[in-house]
Symmetry: C2
Subunit: 169 residues, 2 copies
């Protein structure tokens, strides 16, 4: 939408309003991985959230235009990684279009259920996908926690107003 | 699960593993409101996330045992508020069981579509509920942004390891 000079600006388009409101919000940073037919895939997500304790479910969003979507669409298992403030470069790699995200210096291994597991994270989980809920141009993936390790060293990486940030305390 | 003394401890129960992993994660803090038959309801959420740009959708989780659930289950509209670091007391009020959350000192007004809108937040949105997705003992509420204001003053309130926190920069 373009405002005509001299007239009152129109209300924000709702997509722009959503974007502006979430620039005010802060979020933790995660990387989601899966084993695709053509190799490992993964992407940086700021939408990771805990959903339910019984059964233990989490969720994250993924755009259907994302390079990881064809693999995540088919995957039975996904890897979920909580990134630390020391992993800003890793977060950027998994957010960059066209990057070979699993090439050096990315350190990872084939984990349980053949899921790619990243080294050096605060916590990782291997989860079974239980639903992919259509939501506009995205899907909300619901997944049940199977196993993992919440004991990595460090403090969480954050994202706010379009850049990475850290906790104060 | 109970470990037998003298034996190797069993793997973490998966619900405990989920909880431990998300204690390492950090999240922004929101308050969700709705107009119930018996008055305004609202609760503090760390699960607010942007979902889709087209159409403009967001999501949050709510437990089906929550005091706000009967109203949110029926509501056509909800209010979504991004809290600032100056609003830790408000976040605590809307997380406390049994509190009269809309009594003084909570400052609020009847906003568009009769949705309760809180004063002093970083951003607020009035949204139309488009889905309530069953997910274990919770529901994921999907809602479309209708209008709001992302222009409040301040920086976001965060939640990490069971307590409120702030951004460093």
């Amino acid at each position: 939408m373009t405002a005509t000079p001299g007239l009152t600006a129109p209300p924000l388009a709702t997509a722009e309003l959503l974007r502006s409101a979430f620039r005010r919000h802060a979020a933790g940073v995660a990387v989601i991985t899966a084993r695709g037919d053509a190799g490992p895939v993964g992407f940086t997500a700021t939408s990771l959230t805990s959903v339910s304790a019984e059964p233990p479910l989490l969720s994250f969003g993924i755009g259907t235009g994302s390079s990881s979507w064809p693999a995540v669409c088919e995957a039975e298992y996904v890897g979920v990684h909580v990134l630390g403030e020391h992993q800003e470069a890793l977060a950027a790699t998994f957010a960059r279009s066209g990057a070979d995200r699993f090439a050096a210096p990315t350190a990872w291994y084939d984990g349980p259920e053949d899921v790619p597991v990243l080294d050096g994270v605060l916590a990782w989980l291997v989860c079974r996908v239980v639903a992919r809920v259509p939501a506009g141009d995205h899907r909300i993936v619901l997944a049940e926690v199977l196993l993992g390790d919440p004991g990595g060293a460090g403090r969480p990486l954050l994202y706010h107003q379009g850049r990475y940030d850290r906790l104060r305390d």
